[in-house]
Amino acid sequence: MARFRLLGRALACAGLAAAVGFGSARAAQAAWAPSKTVEFIVPAGTGGGADQMARVLQGIIQKHSLMSQALVVINKAGGAGAEGFLDVKGSARNPHKIIITLSNLFTTPLATGVPFKWEDMTPVAMLALDEFVLWVNAKAPYKTAKDFVDAAKAGAANEFKMGGTGSKQEDQIITAAIEQATGTKFTYIPYKGGGDVAAQLVGGHVTASVNNPIEAVAQWRAGELKPLCVFDGKRIPLTEKVTDTMSWGDIPTCKESGLDIEYLMLRGIFMGPGATPEQVAFYVDLFKRVRETPEWKDFMAKGAFNTTFMADTEYKTWLGKAAETHRALMEKAGFLAK
C-alpha cells in the first residue's frame, strides 16, 4: 500500500497522471503553467545548503501538490557553480528551467572570470537570506566578539585561523571584511563544506568560523561551539531556546559588538533569459504558496534563516545593490580574477 502510494506519487510527478487534477485550485490564479517537467538547477553539489533547500522545496511542492508537473533537482556544480549558471544563461525562453542561487551568483564570475552576471537571467524571487554567525570553540577564552577582535589585533599576523567553505566565496569575503575592519591578517583555510568547517572548529584545528546557523547549530547545542555575533543589521527574531540558556535572538549583532559588518547570503530563484511576465508570475505565486506551508516555516526556523521575501523590481534593486557590494568587497580584498 505504502509502496503504491510512493510510486503513485512518482508517477503523478512525472506528469503521467497529470489528469488527476491536483492543481485545479491554481488554474484560476496564473495564466501560464508548466506543460512539462521543470528542471530545478542547483549550482552546487549534493548535500550542501543550496541542495538541501532545493530538495526541501521539491518535497514541499510534491507533498502539497502545488504544481501539476514534476520538479526535478539537477546539480551542476562545476567551476564553483559556473556550470549551472551558464546552463540557465544559455536556456533563453525555456520556462521549464529554474535555478536556485547562493552567493556564487556574484562571486564566481568575479573570482574566475567566467562570463555571466545576474542580469543575464530573469530574476524570479528571493526566498530567504542565509545568516552568518561568528563561531568559536566553546573552550575559547573569548566571551564576546569584542574580546575576539581585541585578541586578534593583539596577536601576530596569521595567528588566527578562519575556517570557511570554498575559496573567494562568502566565507572568505566576510573574513576579508573582518580583516579590513580590524586591520589584522587572518589565515583563511578553505574547506569543502560547512559541516567540515564546524567539525574542524570543534576539533580545534581552526580558531573561528563564519558558519551559517544550520551548519553549526548541532555543535552549539552540544556545548562544543559558541556564537559570538551575527552578521546582520538586526538580531535574528527567534526567541525559542536553542540551548539551555540561549535562543538565536540572544546572539548580538556584530555591529553591536563593534564589528561593523553585515553580510547575508541570497537564496533566490532565477529563470533563463527572456522569460515572460506570466511565466515569472507563476513561479512567484508558487513560491509564495510554498512559504505558507508549515514545513517551510519549520525549515526556516531550524536554519534561523532571514525570511525576507522579494519579487519584481524590489528584488531587482536588491540584486543590483548586492552585486555592487560584492564587487567592492572583492576588489578591496584582491579576489578579482586577473
Binding site: 505504502a2 509502496r3 510512493l6 512518482a10 553539489g45 549534493t46 548535500g47 550542501g48 541542495d51 538541501q52 530538495r55 526541501v56 521539491q58 518535497g59 514541499i60 510534491q62 507533498k63 533537482v73 539537477i74 546539480n75 551542476k76 556544480a77 562545476g78 567551476g79 564553483a80 559556473a82 556550470e83 573570482a111 574566475t112 572570470g113 567566467v114 585561523k161 570554498g166 575559496s167 566565496q169 589565515t187 583563511y188 583555510i189 578553505p190 569543502k192 563544506g193 559541516g195 567540515d196 564546524a198 567539525a199 574542524q200 570543534v202 576539533g203 584545528h205 581552526v206 544550520i214 547549530v217 548541532a218 555543535q219 547545542r221 552540544a222 562544543e224 519549520d298 531550524k302 536554519g303
Partner: protein, 508 residues
Amino acid sequence: MDALLSLVHGFGVLADPMNILYMFLGIFLGVLIGVLPGLGGANGVAILLPLTFSMSPVSGIIMLSSIYWGALFGGAITSILFNIPGEPWSVATTFDGYPMAQKGRAGEALATAFTGSFFGAFVATLLLTFLAPVIARFALQFGPAEFFAVYLLTFCSFVGMGRESPFKVIAAMMLGFALAAVGIDTVTGQLRMTFGSTELLRGFDFLVAVIGLFGVGEILLTMEEGLAFKGKSAKISPRVVLQVWKELPKYWLTAIRSAIVGCWMGITPGGATPASFMSYGLAKRFSRNGKRFGSGELEGVLAPETAAHAAGTSALLPMLTLGIPGSPTAAVLLGGLLIWGLQPGPLLFVEQRDFVWGLIASIYLSNVAGLIVVLSTVPFFAAILRIPFSIIAPVILVICAVGAYTVHNALMDISVMLVFGVIGYVFKKLSYPLAPLVLALVLGDMAESSFRQAMLLSQGNMSIFWANPLVGTIVTLALAMLFWPVLSAAMDRLRSPARSREAALPAK
C-alpha cells in the same frame, strides 16, 4: 549493557511492518542504483529524499539508508560481470572480480563480494552500537594534516603493484593527477587547465573516466578476440554460495583487516573509495596469495568489498554523533535529517532515542535482508553472461552512456567516456597500468587540497606532518609502505630479470 537495551528498543521500533516494507523497497532500489553506473549512492539517496518527506523520520531514514546499503551491495555486480564499476568503491573489486568472471567463476566472485560486504557492515554496525560516542571523539582529531596523511597512506599501500615499466606506471599516475586537477582549484578558487572551455569547468569525474577506461575499454579489447564474453561458460548453481562460504573462513585475517581499515576510513572520514583501495593494497601485500592478485583471487574481491561496506556503514557514525558526514551519501542523509526536523549531533542519541536506535537496529536487519536479496540474485546475474555478445554489448554501452551522463548531467561526459574507452584500450595494449591512473584521479584532488590546507595552517612549514603522534605515525607508516615494495621489487628483479617481462596487469 545500556546499548543492548537500547538496541532491543530499536528492534521494537522496527516491528512496524511498514518500516520493514520500506526497508525492502529501499534495498531493492539501492541494488538497482548500485548496478547502474553513474547513478551513485549519494545521487540515489538525494533523488529519493523528497519522496520520504511525508514519512515519519524513522521510516524515512530506514528507507534511505536501505538504499545506501543496497547501493553498497550492488556496486560489485557490474564490476565483476563486465569490468564496469557501478560505484567508485567497487573499482578495486574489478581487479580480481572480473578475471574471476572471465574464468567462469562469476558466481563465486559475486558470493564473495556480497558476503564480504555483509561482514564489513556487521563489524561497523557493532562499532556503531557499542562504541559510537568514544570513537566520534577520535574523528575530531583529524585536521588537514591528518587527512593528507591518510590519503598518502592509501596511496602508498597501493602503489608498487604490477610489473610494468616504472616509467609507464609513473606516466599513467601523473596523467591521473593531472586530470584530477582540471577545473576549479578549491584552495584559491582559480581555474586550472580549463583553457576557457565551459565543458572543462567541471573537470574529469572519476566515474566517467572509470566507466570509459574499464567498461568501454574492455568491450573493445573483447572485440579483438571475436564476438564473445570469456565468462560465457559460467557455472550457475545455487550451491556456489555454500562452496564460497566453506572457503571464506580461510581468509579471516584479510576480512578482519579490511573491516578495520574500512571502519577507520569511514569514521575519520576518508570514505569508502580510499578504504577499498587501501584494503586491496594491504591484502595484496600481506597475503600469501598476494603475488597472484589481479588474476582472479577470491581474497582480492573479499578485501575491497569488506572495507567499502564497513566504511560506508561507519560513515554514519560521525554523521549521527557529530553532524559531519563521513561520505557524500552521508552528507545527503544529513540533509535528510534536517528536512525531517532532526538535529544531528551529540544530542541526537539522547533526544531522538527512537530514531537513532531504530536506525541502528535497521542496519542490522537491512544488511541481513540485503544479503538475502543479493545472494538470491547471483544465479540471475551470472546468467546475464550467457546472453549473446551482440545483444549484451550494445546494452552495456547504452548503460555506460547513461551512467556517464548521470554523474553530472552533462552530454559532453558521454563523449569523454568514449575517449577514455579508447585510451583504456590503447593503454592496455601498451602495458600502461590503469590502476595507478584511477587511484591518482580519485585521490589527487583530496590529497592536494588537504596538503595545501595543512600548509596554510602551518604557513608553509612541512613539520606539521610530524607535529603530533597521530599524524606522525600515519605519515611514517605511509613512507614505510612506499619504500618496502620498492626494495623488495628491486631485489626480486635482481634475482630474476626475466620475470619483469611477465607484466601481470592489475586491472586485467
